[in-house]
């Protein structure tokens, strides 16, 4: 194991580090015993430096950062070791002084933005609080600054959204709110825990630029936790690799990428899918499996064509429209609407994977929810496995939902905090009387194992898991029913490459054996390329381009699609200095006035099945 002894020289020369972590260990009380989840970690972060922490999901990245901030529940956790912030020891600091450090000297972007935002305060107020806590500024100034920040993180119509609540935001928008909140106070050190998982690549790029810019202007240091090796390559000066609670390798990003020593590091990097590697392939491709000990990679069997083109589509969506009314004024009159989904039509066949990509906040999740009628759409028709979804009564709706399962974008929020994950996973199975309790337990255990969790975690509760682990629990739950269609909303975004590969392979396997159809919503273009048969690109609530995967990826037509493809980060540290400059275009908002009449859209067929919106 490499220790940080000589790292400071590499990172920031002889300058004293901003953050210096020494022999940090963190344990949790589970039941009656203490379980150590972070073991003896040491590293430094120099001024202006960006240090990335990568590692397996559940390896202790978030816990490390929370330990630095001393934000773990006091009664159930224990922190040992030392943390120095500009020479000041934090672990033993009195609570009141620690408070002044938090948010002021160190800011943190949390991994799960949904649960991390206070549901009952307008987001504007929450961001402003980060400002007013540490500085004396007037309400108006704070508001102006918040608006500026919101624009910076590319929230459209920032003024209008200042007073909206977290639940009215899309996953990516909430994440951007978190980012704005963390950046507001211009901290010396920013800890960013997976800050861009819910963002499409274009916005991700802009956010990364924003962070870089702040680093340059304010001399901020960044501790960056991510699974996206492309991002790591792009932003990190140095990288720490974590595995099962240990920092197994620390070094300059270049070194890690090209001369990684630890087998896990090598496994990690070789498994990274690269955009464009699929070429003209028509079918999805499994991910390679890498043995962690040897680092050897074995290619898996080709997948067969599972798409049942001949039959009627299992899911047929026609002119689906969902709007959220905006009320304003004392009387609460309707003053406009968010046109979250506007006249969306597509179909999905048995055994097919249709990926839905698009800008954050463009209505992907809303589309998914509308299809299963978790939100009542404004208009449109959906036929799912023969059910006319929009016309179903409660009873048949329930029956229909057996055929379609949903993996929610925010796994933590979608798990009942008071239910052990074992019961949570088993529940749908028992509910639909698919077998005995024993059978359901076995099946759940099997699925958990397949997504890389151990079945003895079944007794534990959602808050005792890492973000990625929770996501896998949500996947296991969706698979319990053997549904015909799965709407997977950012289902693998919080997983490290290795586990992502494992889970994606699992999904492909299931597609092979059960002819599952996926509506795969994702921002990760590399994964999308790998798993999908067809791809639909959404922009401002509408599908702007749809077609076979190869056609869309190799021959993008719509300007937005082109922009999207260009923005995908490449896992190559040498390209780090290249700056994108996309933050200049205006941000479009899906908010329309009451009298807005959506224009009639025309589609042009580029090639077979490849349609592009015109005008």
């Amino acid at each position: 194991m490499l220790l940080s002894g000589n790292d400071s020289e590499q990172g920031g020369g002889s300058v004293a580090p901003v953050l210096s972590v020494k022999n940090l260990s963190t344990s949790f009380r589970v039941g009656d015993e203490w379980k150590t989840v972070v073991r003896d970690i040491s590293f430094d972060v120099a001024p202006r430096e960006t240090v990335a922490i990568v590692g397996e999901s559940g390896s202790g990245k978030s816990v490390t950062s929370l330990s630095i901030m001393r934000l773990l529940p006091k009664k159930t956790s224990r922190i040992e070791g030392q943390v120095f912030l500009q020479g000041r020891e934090l672990v033993s600091l009195p609570e009141e002084e620690m408070r002044r450090v938090r948010g002021n000297d160190i800011s943190m972007i949390f991994q799960e933005p949904m649960t991390s935002l206070n549901p009952i305060f307008p987001i504007g107020k929450q961001i402003a609080e980060a400002l007013t806590v540490h500085t004396d500024i007037s309400r108006a100034e704070a508001k102006a600054e918040v608006l500026r920040l919101l624009e910076k993180v590319r929230i459209p119509n920032a003024k209008g959204r200042f007073d909206e609540y977290p639940h009215q935001f899309s996953g990516g928008m909430r994440q951007r709110v978190m980012i704005a909140m963390a950046l507001a106070s211009r901290p010396k050190l920013l800890i960013a825990d997976e800050p861009t998982t819910a963002l499409d690549v274009t916005i991700q790029g802009q956010i990364l630029d924003l962070i870089k810019q702040l680093q340059e202007e304010e001399g901020m240091s960044v501790l960056f936790i991510t699974h996206d090796m492309g991002v790591v390559a792009e932003v990190a000066d140095r990288t720490i690799v974590m595995f099962r609670g240990d920092a197994v390798e620390t070094g300059a990003t270049d070194d890690i990428f090209h001369r990684g020593k630890h087998p896990y590091t090598r496994a990690l990097l070789s498994a990274v899918p690269r955009l464009g590697s699929m070429g003209e392939r028509k079918l999805p491709l499994r991910f390679p499996i890498i043995d962690i000990k040897t680092g050897e990679q074995q290619q898996l069997a080709e997948v067969t064509d599972t798409v049942a083109k001949g039959k009627t589509p299992i899911l047929d969506v026609k002119n689906l429209t969902t709007r959220f009314d905006i009320h304003s004024g004392l009387l609460g009159r309707k003053s406009g609407a968010v046109h979250a989904v506007e006249k969306v039509s597509f179909d999905l066949f048995e055994g097919e994977t249709l990926s839905l990509v698009g800008e954050s906040g463009c209505g992907k999740s809303t589309t998914g929810r509308s299809i299963t009628r978790l939100i009542n759409p404004t208009s449109g028709d959906v036929v799912l496995d023969g059910y006319e979804v929009m016309k179903l009564d409660q009873y048949t709706l329930r029956k229909m939902r057996r055929s379609v399962q949903m993996i929610f974008q925010d796994p933590f929020a979608s798990l009942n905090p008071r239910m052990s994950i074992g019961s949570a996973v088993m529940e749908p199975f028992i509910e639909h009387n698919l077998g005995t309790k024993k059978q359901s337990r076995d099946k759940a255990a099997g699925l958990l194992e397949k997504v890389g969790l151990s079945p003895d975690m079944m007794k534990r509760f959602p808050h005792e898991f890492s973000g990625g682990q929770r996501q896998r629990i949500a996947i296991a739950r969706a698979l319990m029913l053997d549904p015909k269609v799965i709407v997977a909303d950012e289902a693998v975004s919080a997983l490290d490459v290795s586990i992502k590969a494992q889970v994606c392979n699992l999904l492909l396997d299931l597609q092979q054996s059960l002819k599952l159809a996926f509506l795969f919503i994702s921002h990760d273009m590399a994964v999308v390329e790998r798993v999908s048969h067809r791809v639909a690109v959404m922009y401002l609530g509408e599908i702007v381009e749809i077609g076979p995967r190869a056609a869309v990826f190799e021959n993008p037509q719509h300007p937005y699609t082109k922009k999207l493809m260009a923005a995908v980060p490449v896992p190559d540290p040498s390209r780090r200095s290249i700056k994108r400059n996309m933050s200049t275009d205006e941000i479009k908002s899906p908010v329309r006035s009451v009298d807005y009449v959506p224009p009639v859209r025309q589609y042009r067929e580029v090639s077979v099945g490849h349609l592009v919106q015109v005008a």
Binding site: T76, R441, D456, A478
Partner: protein
């Protein structure tokens, strides 16, 4: 672990010793000091009340006017009242009724309140009608209501179940039916807040039946308010029972109950303080023990609670 990407030492044994949820609850409960203390006190009270009379063999309504208004002594550990009845025997006998009435009436009120609260909070269509009924019940003047209930049902119940059981049923139902409204409104408020959370949506999307969603996802999350209602409910049920007897709705006047003993004793506060001390203490200890047990259950069901 064939298709795991990264072959790693298999995570622990898959043999989950399938301890049932109840056993697990119990384990958590028993780790809760307050809960255990509450349980011990509660069991002690139960034992005292049900077994005590076999040890302290003085009839509670044995009048001995020559021994009236005595302070505690060996013969009368809790002293006597103004008719010379033994207070200990009365407290024990009274406890049986008070506990039975208090607990059953509380459970009934809790059941009704939770049912109405959950239904109106969860099902929008039921909300209006159910809440207006709740308003009505809140508005009804209690005394006339009780008198009317008495008028309509006492003789029927007495005929059907005999004087004692009949009155017991009447009292429990009367208290239950007139005290569920607070619980209903509180539960409804909580349900309204809970049901907008995403895990409820997730449960819906997996095709759960509504009643299961309510039972497994909503209810556990409103439990803490329900627990408080339960604790407070038991106290007010015990007191309400005693005030019913002033309307002639309660048990015959020679049936002691804690509330009644306290009421009758209030005037004798200076003369024989032990007359009010014991029944008052009994009520308080019962309520406190129920409170601590409620806390323990609450904590056991809240995985994030600080476990002690």
């Amino acid at each position: 672990m064939t298709d795991a990407t990264i072959a790693s030492p298999a995570p622990a044994i898959a043999s989950t010793p399938t301890r049932s949820a109840m056993a697990d609850m119990w384990r958590q409960f028993s780790a809760h000091k307050g809960g255990v203390a509450g349980l011990i006190v509660f069991v002690f009270i139960l034992l005292a009340v049900y077994v005590g009379p076999y040890i302290h063999r003085v009839a509670p309504n044995q009048i001995n006017i020559r021994d009236k208004n005595q302070w505690p002594s060996l013969a009368h550990p809790f002293g006597t009242d103004n008719l010379g009845k033994d207070m200990l025997a009365q407290v024990l006998a009274g406890g049986r009724i008070s506990l039975a009435v208090g607990i059953t009436a509380m459970l009934l009120a809790l059941f009704l309140g939770t049912l109405v609260g959950v239904l109106s909070g969860y099902f929008r269509r039921l909300d209006g009608p159910l809440m207006r009924i709740t308003d009505l019940f809140l508005a009804l003047p209690l005394l006339p209501l009780l008198l009317v209930i008495l008028l309509l049902f006492r003789d029927t119940l007495r005929a059907a179940f005999g004087p004692e059981t009949g009155i017991f049923i009447l009292i429990v139902v009367v208290i239950g039916v007139t005290s569920w409204m607070h619980t209903a409104r509180i539960v409804r408020g909580d349900v309204l807040a809970i049901k907008s959370q995403e895990f409820v949506l997730a449960a819906k999307s997996s095709g759960m039946r509504e009643y299961r969603i309510v039972l497994k996802h909503i209810l556990p999350n409103v439990l803490s308010s329900i627990m408080v209602s339960a604790t407070l409910g038991i106290a007010s049920a015990i007191i309400t029972e005693s005030s019913l007897s002033f309307l002639g709705l309660g048990f015959p006047s020679d049936f002691p109950t804690w509330g009644r003993l306290l009421f009758d004793g209030a005037n004798f506060l200076q003369l024989t303080p032990s007359r009010v001390l014991w029944p008052g203490l009994a009520i308080s200890m019962t309520v406190l023990s129920v409170n601590y047990m409620g806390d323990a259950i609450r904590d056991a069901l809240d995985p994030r609670a600080v476990k002690r």
